[in-house]
Point group: C2
Chain length 234, copies 2
């Protein structure tokens, strides 16, 4: 019997590569994406393209309006503009783009989906290297989540726990891009920019991390950017 995996697909680069890893490992893929008061719909469009390209058996797009709680600049339009940082600032502290308990919310909805369809695993594209500032991107967090999930679910109680798979956890952005290239992940259908313009800004934290990854991997990023940092152009 073919194994089933729920893949959290945001439309970003990491979750897209993650879904191709799940496919490589032989899973039937059930994609799960969220709309949650983002500034833009671009990510959801990319998520749909990725789910299609990876051959997902189904794709649930769930609206979870985290904006009702207020909070982070990623969900709350009133709390000021997306910050622009220097590369050196990234990862030193919990950034203002941190969305409270976001991975916990997403994993928990994936867990509900996985248990409903009797899936064997959940794939999530979190990464501890480039996002060390986020508490819910750490290996110790994933371990604790797995223990909780084993106790929370019928499948866990019956000795068939749903495995939380975070295959990018210890990879650098450049290694993630190399892996995606090997698996023919369509980078042109991924979106990283925190802003919702037609063209990626090339200035926000997320664009900078992405561009640095492509630069380090020696791979050309197929996306168009409004401006490119000087170190990328060199």
């Amino acid at each position: 019997m073919v194994k089933k995996a729920v893949c959290l697909i945001s439309g970003g680069l990491d979750s897209s590569v993650t879904s191709f890893i799940a496919k490589e490992r032989g899973f039937d893929i059930y994609a799960l994406s969220f709309t949650y008061g983002q500034r833009h719909e671009k990510e959801t469009l990319c998520a749909k393209k990725i789910a299609k390209t990876v051959g997902a058996k189904d794709h649930v797009v769930l609206d979870v309006d985290l904006g009702k709680f207020g909070g982070s600049s990623l969900v709350d339009r009133s709390s000021g503009s997306i910050p622009i940082h220097d590369m050196n600032d990234i990862g030193n502290k919990i950034p203002s783009t941190y969305v409270p308990a976001r991975n916990t919310v997403f994993l928990s909805l994936a867990l509900a989906y996985a248990e409903t369809i009797d899936a064997d695993a959940i794939f999530i594209g979190i990464n501890a290297v480039d996002y060390s500032g986020y508490p819910d991107c750490r290996p110790i967090y994933i371990e604790a989540y797995q223990k909780m999930a084993n106790l929370a679910t019928k499948k866990g109680v019956e000795g068939k726990p749903i495995k939380i798979e975070a295959p990018l956890l210890h990879l650098t952005k450049s290694e993630i891009i190399q892996k995606g290239k090997d698996l023919n992940a369509p980078f042109e259908n991924t979106w990283s920019c925190y802003r919702g313009e037609k063209i990626a800004c090339g200035q926000c934290d997320s664009c900078l991390l992405r561009l640095k990854g492509f630069k380090d991997a020696g791979v050309k990023d197929p996306l168009k950017y409004e401006t490119l940092p000087e170190w990328y152009r060199k």
Copy 2:
């Protein structure tokens, strides 16, 4: 400074009593309820009344369409009618009304809310005595959730963990009703029936547990029922 608590209020008896316990302990209450493809809106109406009566500072009602995943009879209208059981059957195995990972989903959204508003605790009305069939109603599950939550959140990392409070965990239904009576919780504004009719059925698992609790506590249930079991009328 007054402490803040996010209270999960379903409109049922247990979560209502729980919110009055949070109030008794001196917390400012931020109510959180969900609409999730229920068969009826009755619970949400009750949740609103309870939030008002308990003096909640705010009440967020979030739509989370778990029905998109399919599954349990509580969320999936297509999976057959609500089962009617004998009292002796309840709690012996995982019931068909079990909603996959429901408490994990609800606690995780409460965690996001709590971290956003800088709350100190989350109150949830789960109970291990009458709901032993549900894996996510066990003390061991709550402990594991607490550990995960401490690692997931900015507040946890900063040494000010958000405490998961489940004050009904070890109480019988009859003790919960006694506690609610002591705190003047308005039982008439709570709803337990799995069906969405104007009057509670008095036959489903949830009605039976409620009625047995009132009977054992020697308190009169102010709700009207379509039919009452013989043992209650005696």
